[in-house]
């Protein structure tokens, strides 16, 4: 997998991890836990209050049921405290402040528990003593009553009754006024009992008893106050406050993270939007490309058709111009050939014609001589005078001397022989031309390659004569099936090229041989040779090393095509400076029957 595919995946994974992390951090504040913790705190508070109440109630009564209730409350409180300290909803460990507040509260409430136990034990003792004291008070009052003087008996009785109710009230519900009131009543009673010693005696005992009861009661009250004054509520409040502070901090952190999350989400959203826009744009591009494509698709066939038509037209034009070029090349080589042949024909024609005239003129002279002889003969045989005879004979003799008939006759024979020779040469040339062009033959024919080469050599004679020695090494060849006029063109072209490659005197070798399935023709020259770079291109159309205007560059390409079209092959070997060899292989029979392979043929 390439880095290009891994990177986006990694980026997406990182983005999701960041998202999960932030979401988790925002979830770190559990509201239910928080509420339960608060509820626990409230419960502790409530239980503490309940405990206080129970202890207060114990303070005023010693009923066992109340003590049981207090014990139950204490147990509940202990459980709840345990939950705060150690349970699933514990507060310990949340923060040092909370821990400190918790420790403080726990210490206080523990000491409160101890006080409660102590108080309870003491309370029962004091209560019993108090109750004993209270029980003792009426008996003592009765003794005081009995011992009192009768004049004060009513007062004492009334005072004692008040004292008893005040003491009872003091023991049960202490008020700030009834302590001094009891002491005032005791003082009054003591004053009353001063007249009677027994009564005073009884009075002192009563007084001691009352003071004891009051002291017990004061101790009870002070103990209870000590218990109740333990600052559990405040400390619990502090605990709650510190917990709430911790919670608020937690909430603040969570909020912070929420903010981060929102920002992150916003960024992610923006990124997604960007991606979306890009995607959309890509889609739009794709859509457009798609539309263009389908449009192009729709027009493709049309375009293809147009292009094909154009191309076909261009091809036709090219073919036409190629055919035209091949034709002009043929005409050019035909022109050269005609020039050569014209010279070849004009020379014998020149002397033959001239000779004929000379012979005619000579015949005139001879005829004159004959006439003179006739006249001399007639004079001799006729009735002419001797003088006339002598004159006629003399004239005839003089003429005979001038004309020199014997000599003339020999010369005329000579001239006529020359003329014959000339005419024969012309006839041969014309025959070669006919052979060469093959205009009177069908296009595909059985053909003697050796004869074809001979005809081509004859046509090219003008270029070879006196300068180039032609060596022929012909093997007996089977006749091959081909287009003779085309092959003649090939031979003439190669021979002409060979002749042109030779500057000054040189030699051309022509070898023919019969192969297993065809014939092999080799044409070698001692010319300038073909350089390597030129050799690769000589069969290309329009490739020429001749100056502009002196060759179309089509000659060898036409040769190549003709040989290829005949199912043959052509090879060239050359040593620059030494000469070149063209080797042509031609099959015996044509694979395709009789179709003219060269389109130029049709134009020709």
């Amino acid at each position: 997998m390439g880095l290009k595919r891994v990177l986006p995946l990694l980026a997406a994974g990182a983005a999701i991890a960041a998202l999960v992390f932030l979401a988790w951090r925002t979830q770190s504040v559990d509201n239910a836990t928080h509420l339960q913790r608060l509820a626990n705190l409230r419960k502790v508070d409530a239980l503490d209050v309940a405990l206080n109440r129970a202890v207060t109630q114990v303070g005023v009564s010693s009923m066992a049921s109340i003590a049981d209730e207090r014990a139950a409350t204490t147990r509940q409180l202990g459980d709840t405290l345990d939950a705060l300290d150690r349970g699933a909803l514990r507060l310990r460990g949340l923060s040092p402040d909370v821990d400190r507040a918790l420790d403080r509260f726990l210490d206080t409430i523990e000491s409160k528990f101890e006080l409660a136990f102590d108080f309870e034990a003491r309370n029962i003792q004091i209560h019993q003593r108090l109750i004993q004291g209270l029980d003792a008070v009426p008996a003592l009052a009765d003794t005081v009553q009995a011992a009192s003087a009768p004049d004060v008996a009513d007062t004492v009785s009334r005072q004692l009754g008040r004292l008893q109710s005040e003491i009872t009230a003091h023991a049960v519900v202490q008020t700030p006024t009834n302590g001094p009131t009891i002491l005032g009543l005791l003082d009054e009673l003591s004053a009353l009992s001063s007249q009677s010693e027994p009564m005073a005696e009884q009075m002192r005992r009563l007084r001691a008893r009352c003071v004891e009861v009051m002291a017990d009661k004061a101790e009870l009250v002070s103990r209870m106050a000590d218990f109740l004054n333990r600052p559990t509520a405040a400390q619990l409040l502090a605990l709650e406050r510190s917990y709430t502070a911790w919670h608020s901090r937690q909430v603040a952190v969570a909020n912070q993270y929420r903010l981060w999350l929102a920002a992150y989400a916003a960024i992610l959203l923006l990124g997604l939007m960007w991606l979306g826009i890009r995607l959309r744009r890509s889609y739009r591009d794709l859509d457009r490309a798609n539309a263009e494509l389908s449009h192009a698709n729709e027009h493709l066939e049309e375009q293809v058709e147009t292009r094909t038509r154009d191309l076909r037209k261009a091809l036709d034009e090219l073919r036409a111009s190629q055919a035209q070029l091949i034709q002009s090349e043929k005409m050019a080589s035909l022109g050269q050939m005609v020039a050569g042949v014209a010279h070849e024909i004009n020379t014998p024609l020149g002397y033959a014609r001239s000779n004929a005239q000379i012979v005619r003129d000579a015949l005139g002279e001879l005829r004159g001589l004959c006439a003179a002889h006739d006249r001399a003969l007639a004079a001799l045989t006729g009735e002419a005078s001797d003088a006339a005879v002598a004159e006629a004979v003399a004239t005839a003799q003089q003429l005979a001397q001038t004309v020199a008939a014997d000599e003339l006759g020999a010369e005329l024979d000579n001239l006529l022989a020359d003329t014959d020779h000339g005419l024969e040469q012309i006839a041969e040339l014309v025959a070669s031309l006919k052979d060469f062009s093959r205009v009177d033959r069908s296009r595909t024919d059985l053909f003697d390659v050796n004869a074809g080469i001979d005809a081509a050599l004859k046509i090219a004679q003008n270029q070879l004569k006196h300068r180039i020695e032609v060596k022929r090494a012909y093997s007996p060849l089977p006749q091959i099936e081909c287009s003779p006029s085309q092959l003649n063109q090939v031979f003439l072209n190669l021979i002409t090229n060979a002749a042109q490659a030779i500057e000054g005197p040189g030699r051309i070798f022509v070898h023919t041989a019969a192969g297993a399935d065809g014939v092999v023709i080799r044409i070698l020259d001692t010319g300038s040779g073909i350089p390597e770079d030129v050799r690769a291109r000589i069969f290309e159309p329009f490739f020429t090393t001749k100056p502009v205007g002196q060759g179309t560059g089509l000659g060898l390409s036409i040769v190549y095509r003709i040989v290829e079209d005949h199912g043959g092959g052509i090879e060239v070997r050359s040593v620059p400076g030494k000469g070149s060899e063209f080797c042509i292989r031609l099959p015996l029979r044509q694979a395709r029957p009789a179709t003219p392979p060269n389109p130029a043929q049709a134009a020709a």
Binding site: A339, G340, A342, H343, E344, I345, N346, T347, P348, L349, G350, Y351, A352, R353, S354, N355, Q357, I358, E411, N414, L415, D418, H421, G422, N462, K465, H466, R467
Partner: protein, 316 residues
């Protein structure tokens, strides 16, 4: 030079039968020499001066033009005739410019034409040989000496392309007086007015071949020297121009400055020679051209040219 002695004529051809025919045709008339190649002919020329050389063009080893060019250096008085079966244009232009030949004779020839041509050549050779020897004896002045500017004859440029006369003027410089003519009519008018020594002409002016004009000029004003400057060169008209017009040079367009300058200055010298020695005129005698077929304006002009004849004496 003995007039009684037979003229010497050299025939050169690689075909021995041609030489046989020539022997038969010209026996009894001239002293005949034969060579079957250019090299043999040159060897012979070194030992034996001749009056006329008749050479084939296509021969192994040395072409007729090459032979005639060398022969001209060896034996400048000999008249040169080229016998040719078929000649390409370059060969013809070469023979005009380098061989300064008298006639082209094409194969096959008519005996009477050939004998007449050779006869004319012989006559011209003999007359001019006499002239040159006497001239040399008389003054010994160099025929190649520069033409004095005072008597500098004018140059007439006949071309329907109006750019050609100024171009020639620019090439030749201020020393030469160059007249332009865009038609034959104009050309004849200029010839009537001005002393013209050299005519530079295209082969055709306004679609009329100039060969009859030049031929007639040469007939009636033999000291006029013609140069052909053309881009429509063809072998047939070049042959006609030499045979019927005795043109001095044949130049193909585009114009090359130096070639043009050399041709004109040598034409001017030639004009000078011809003006001085009327005996030389026969060397440049033209064939009588066949009358232009129904070409009324041209034949009218030819009549006017004939009337120029009287003026000639005045200029020379």
């Amino acid at each position: 030079m003995q007039d009684t002695a037979k003229a010497r004529v050299l025939f050169v051809d690689d075909e021995p039968r041609i030489l046989t025919t020539m022997r038969m045709l010209f026996r009894n008339r001239y002293e005949l020499h034969f060579a079957d190649s250019g090299q043999r002919a040159l060897e012979l020329l070194k030992t034996q001066p001749v009056d006329v050389i008749v050479s084939d063009q296509r021969m192994p080893g040395m072409t007729g033009i090459e032979l005639l060019r060398t022969a001209r250096e060896l034996n400048p008085d000999a008249m040169r005739i080229l016998l040719t079966g078929y000649s390409d244009l370059n060969a013809i232009i070469g023979s005009i410019n380098e061989g300064e030949i008298f006639r082209f004779v094409s194969k096959p020839w008519a005996n009477e034409d050939l004998t007449a041509t050779v006869e004319r050549a012989v006559k011209a050779a003999r007359v001019s040989a006499a002239v040159t020897t006497s001239a040399a004896a008389e003054s010994g002045d160099d025929p190649e000496a520069a033409v004095p500017p005072a008597s500098m004859p004018g140059i007439l440029v006949v071309d329907d392309d109006p750019q050609v006369p100024p171009r020639i003027r620019a090439v030749l410089g201020a020393d030469c007086r160059v007249f332009g003519a865009a038609s034959m009519d104009e050309a004849v008018s200029t010839l009537e007015r001005e002393p013209i020594g050299v005519v530079i002409s295209d082969t055709r002016v306004e679609d009329h071949p100039v060969v009859s004009l030049i031929g007639t000029l040469k007939q009636h004003r033999p000291e006029l020297v013609s140069i052909i400057l053309t881009e429509r060169a063809d072998a047939g008209s070049a042959i006609d121009l030499i045979n019927q017009g005795q043109i001095y040079r044949f130049i193909t367009k585009p114009i090359h400055d130096s070639q043009c300058r050399i041709a004109v200055s040598s034409a001017l010298r030639q004009h000078q020679r011809l003006a001085r020695d009327t005996g030389l005129h026969q060397r440049y005698e033209v064939e009588s051209a066949p009358p232009p077929p129904g070409d009324a304006p041209v034949s009218g002009l030819l009549g006017r040219i004939r009337s120029l004849r009287g003026l000639v004496k005045r200029w020379v």
